[in-house]
């Protein structure tokens, strides 16, 4: 039986087990009228049996599926002629691939030899047997475990507590995934970074002023010395982020103030969702927009006033990134401004202040920490943004703060270093992980500070 079919059958078993468990519990107390004598509701006894049917069977199915293939292939290989078995492992793997293709009815290359044919038949036969055995074993396990659970049912059994214990276990497991993710991220970047720093000194990376990751691919290649100084990348990243914030913070903040303090419900109901559309647009679309429309526009504009503008100016990428971040800033500030208690506004109006004076002298100072936190989050977002800069920023690491020149960013370099080449031993690919570590640490720091500020601020008025 194939796995989907098996799962369906298991589902049937589950329903049956539920029903049987429930019935037995009821029987034990003499039907529905004696239900008060049960520790838990009858359905919990059903669930209890059902869980006992399901969990062991799934575990077995999982392990079996994992191990089955390995053993079967070993057995098939053992049946191959000695000459084939003696081949190195990689070659053998290819033959196994051929056998598999043949067995699964795929097109194979050329006319398979008799040995291969026999092996494929053998494989199919073994798979048939194994699948049959798997079905039998899994179902048998389900039945046996279910029967035990079923027999253990008695009115004083704490079925609900047991079921809830299992469910709670699953819930805890799920909440661990987030922790595991962080650990996974840290492990995957740290290990490769350590390997990188064993080749390139840490200080060279952090304080180096030149970035040109050309390392020789082959022993006989020359002209590739390689420099791994992260400063130009960092400066480039900060430059583009700074431009983005120059666009996003004033517009986003003013929009939020207007929407929350001045705008009528009509404008608010229209402008807010439209602005939020900006947040939902995929970054690759912004990248396309920046590279195809904005960058050439800035260039012609600059040239018309006699300025020399690089085709991939930091300005273009920064502007478009700023547009992307506007809704981010505005919705965060909106929250924060709305959290300022009305009493503060009323007090200010009572003293005769105009609206703008109230906003500037009362609301903004009160909301400042929250806004700062929001801006920091936006900065961290700008630093980590990838597609816009990959498509619209440059590749050469210029150490400059001139927004009309091309700069490159940390994320661009990670992408260029890793795409296409998956070998894991050159300083070049390892450098991507070191950059990833740097990016992770910087954004993590920013996030922690920002979230802390925002949280503190919320507590202030709650």
């Amino acid at each position: 039986m194939q796995i989907p079919m098996l799962l369906i059958v298991l589902l049937g078993f589950l329903a049956l087990a539920y029903h049987l468990g429930r019935a037995r519990a009821l029987d034990a107390v003499g039907g529905g009228s004696g239900m008060r004598k049960l520790h838990s509701l009858p359905s919990y006894y059903g669930l209890y049996v059902a869980l006992w049917v399901l969990l062991p069977a799934l575990t077995i199915l999982f392990l079996w599926s994992v191990l089955q293939d390995v053993y079967i292939v070993d057995m098939v290989v053992a049946q191959l002629p000695q000459a084939m078995q003696d081949l190195p492992e990689a070659q053998l793997g290819l033959i196994v691939n051929d056998i598999r293709n043949l067995a699964s009815g795929n097109i194979v290359s050329g006319e398979p030899s008799a040995d291969i044919r026999a092996a494929a038949d053998h494989l199919l036969e073994l798979q048939g047997i194994a699948n049959m055995a798997k079905t039998v074993v899994v179902l048998a396990f389900a039945i046996i475990a279910g029967t035990f659970a079923w027999r253990a049912i008695n009115p004083s059994m704490r079925a609900r507590n047991r079921v809830e214990w299992i469910v709670k276990g699953l819930l805890i497991l799920s909440s661990m995934v987030a922790i595991m993710t962080t650990i996974g991220i840290v492990l995957s970047v740290v290990f490769e970074s350590i390997r990188f720093f064993s080749k390139i000194p840490f200080t060279d990376f952090i304080f180096g002023l030149a970035w040109s990751p050309q390392t020789a691919l082959r022993a006989d290649q020359v002209g590739a010395s390689g420099a791994f100084g992260a400063i130009p990348l960092l400066v480039g990243t900060l430059l583009i982020s700074f431009i983005a914030m120059l666009v996003a913070v004033p517009i986003g903040l003013m929009a939020a103030i207007y929407l929350s303090e001045y705008a009528g419900p009509k404008l608010r109901g229209f402008a807010k969702p439209v602005l939020e559309i900006l947040a939902g647009i995929p970054t690759v679309v912004y990248g396309f927009f920046a590279a195809l429309t904005v960058a050439p526009m800035i260039r012609t504009l600059g040239e018309s006033v006699g300025l020399e503008v690089a085709s991939e100016s930091a300005l273009a990428a920064g502007l478009v990134m700023g547009i992307m971040i506007i809704p981010f800033v505005s919705s965060l500030s909106d929250d924060v401004i709305n959290a300022v208690p009305q009493s503060l506004r009323d007090a200010s109006y009572g003293l005769g202040a105009t609206r703008s004076e109230t906003i500037r002298q009362v609301i903004l100072p009160a909301a400042l920490p929250g806004i700062m936190g929001g801006v920091l989050l936006a900065v961290s977002r700008a630093i980590g943004e990838t597609m816009i800069v990959v498509m619209a920023a440059g590749l050469s690491a210029n150490l400059t703060v001139n927004p009309l020149e091309a700069v490159t960013t940390v994320t661009v370099q990670i992408v260029t270093l890793l795409v296409g080449d998956q070998e894991f031993d050159s300083a070049k690919t390892l450098a991507a992980f070191a950059l990833g570590l740097m990016l992770f640490v910087v954004t993590l720091g920013l996030n922690i500070i920002a979230l802390h500020i925002v949280r503190k601020y919320r507590e202030q008025y709650d």
């Binding site: 996974g184 679309v285 703008s356 993590l444």
Partner: protein, 426 residues
């Protein structure tokens, strides 16, 4: 004294009101700018891309000559003959007849380039599905080359076209237009085909399928895990250091750059576990980890918004904590959780950077048949086409973006409708 203050205030009133107005104008200006950016972006994309939904075809009278398709008349014995015949001859014949003045080998080759390399496959499909056509003549709309498409749609000026493609080529096209032999048809291929090196044949079918499988994996994993984690953290977790750590950690993960998740996917799933590159399965795993925080945070907010009175009422009538959560709180919070999940899925659909890291940027023509087949996804297809040199790809890139945005807007609208219909205000 009082009078003095009054006069002071009065004197400053004018400038204060002026400042007030100025401030308002700034605010309105900011909103106007924001709306302007949205409309600019959409106008730009739509004006670039709407053309791709139509494809230029050349109407030709094709004679299904048996001497070309099946010279030995053996198709009954060996159906392979029909599949392998040289159909290019069939579609070139009518072009030659139409322009008998073209004689040189070079010129002829140029003439043939009016038609897409896909045209012969069109004819092949026709013959394979109906072998009775052999020996007959039919008027067929054949796909034109992307260069023809670009010229006919007016994306290059006539001068540029002549400079690039030569006077003769442009002349032929003008002749075809005059003869009414060119027609624009709805471009079904764009939605059904996989990627191609020929813009006129390239489609988003493969990428959309890839996106579908990737999102399927993401949804199947992230929804149950996200909801379960939210329930635990919101309803069961004791207030201690450990849950504090988990909470801070989730908030941080939500703000970690997506490319870092790509690095995780590359190092863990591909290099350590040996999962295949370019597979939707890996993409789905990476995107699951990425969207989990969003879903957990949204689900927790939904749980939080269920008033404590519901919980107390449930506990009061003797429900266990688990019963209270699953029977009373969860059903009330579910719309909010679904909304969060849809928004998370929309985010995952538009994500590109982490997928670049795990090799989903290869040239893949076949439409993937499952989550283990190599495939690309819609935003990565946009990225790939944006890099292609052929001019016709600009149009297609924009059209692909339109499709992507349509999906995203649909998903977000669904989320809003869901919120409006089912979310209760307490």
């Amino acid at each position: 004294m009082a009078k003095e203050t009054f006069s002071k205030v009065e004197a400053s009133l004018k400038s204060r009101y002026r400042r007030e107005r100025r401030f308002q104008v700034f605010g309105l200006g900011a909103i106007f700018l924001g709306l302007l950016f949205v409309s600019l972006l959409f106008l730009n994309i739509i004006s670039n891309g709407y053309g791709a939904f139509l494809q230029t075809h050349i109407v030709l009278d094709v004679h299904f000559a048996p001497e070309i398709i099946d010279p030995q008349d053996k198709a009954d014995v060996n159906p392979q003959i029909l599949a392998q015949a040289d159909y290019r001859q069939l579609v070139r014949q009518p072009l030659r007849e139409m322009f008998p003045e073209v004689t040189g080998r070079r010129d002829k080759r140029k003439l043939y380039r009016l038609l897409s390399s896909g045209a012969s496959f069109q004819v092949r499909e026709m013959v394979l599905s109906d072998p009775g056509l052999i020996g007959q003549s039919r008027r067929v709309s054949l796909i034109a080359d992307d260069d023809v498409d670009v010229i006919v749609k007016g994306h290059v000026t006539r001068e540029d076209a002549i400079q690039r493609f030569g006077e003769a080529y442009v002349g032929w096209i003008e002749n075809l237009v005059e003869a009414g032999r060119l027609e624009k048809r709805f471009n079904w291929g764009f939605f059904l085909n996989g990627d191609s090196r020929e813009p006129e044949l390239a489609g988003i079918g493969g990428a959309v399928t890839g996106s579908f499988y990737t999102l399927l994996v993401t949804l199947l994993l992230s929804f149950p895990i996200g909801v379960a984690a939210a329930i635990y953290l919101e309803e069961f977790a004791p207030q201690n250091r450990w849950t504090d750590i988990i909470e801070v950690n989730i908030n941080n993960l939500a703000a970690v750059p997506s490319i870092v998740f790509g690095l995780l996917g590359l190092a863990m799933f591909i290099n350590l576990f040996g999962l295949p590159r370019s597979a939707p399965l890996v993409g789905g795993l990476v995107l699951t980890l990425m969207t989990l925080p969003t879903i957990i945070i949204a689900s927790r907010a939904a749980l939080k918004s269920v008033p404590p009175s519901i919980r107390e009422a449930a506990l009061g009538v003797g429900a266990s904590k688990m019963q209270m959560v699953f029977h009373h709180v969860l059903p009330l919070a579910l719309p909010g959780m679904l909304t969060g999940t849809i928004i998370g899925m929309a985010q995952a659909l538009g994500e590109t950077a982490p997928l670049l890291m795990i090799g989903m940027v290869a040239f893949i023509v076949d439409i993937p048949g499952g989550p283990l087949d190599p495939s690309s996804v819609l935003p990565v297809q946009v990225y790939l086409w944006a890099d292609s040199p052929e001019r016709a790809f600009v149009e297609r890139t924009s059209a692909a973006i339109m499709v992507l945005l349509a999906f995203l807007i649909a998903m977000n609208t669904l989320a809003i409708i869901l919120r409006r219909r089912f979310e209760r205000r307490w």
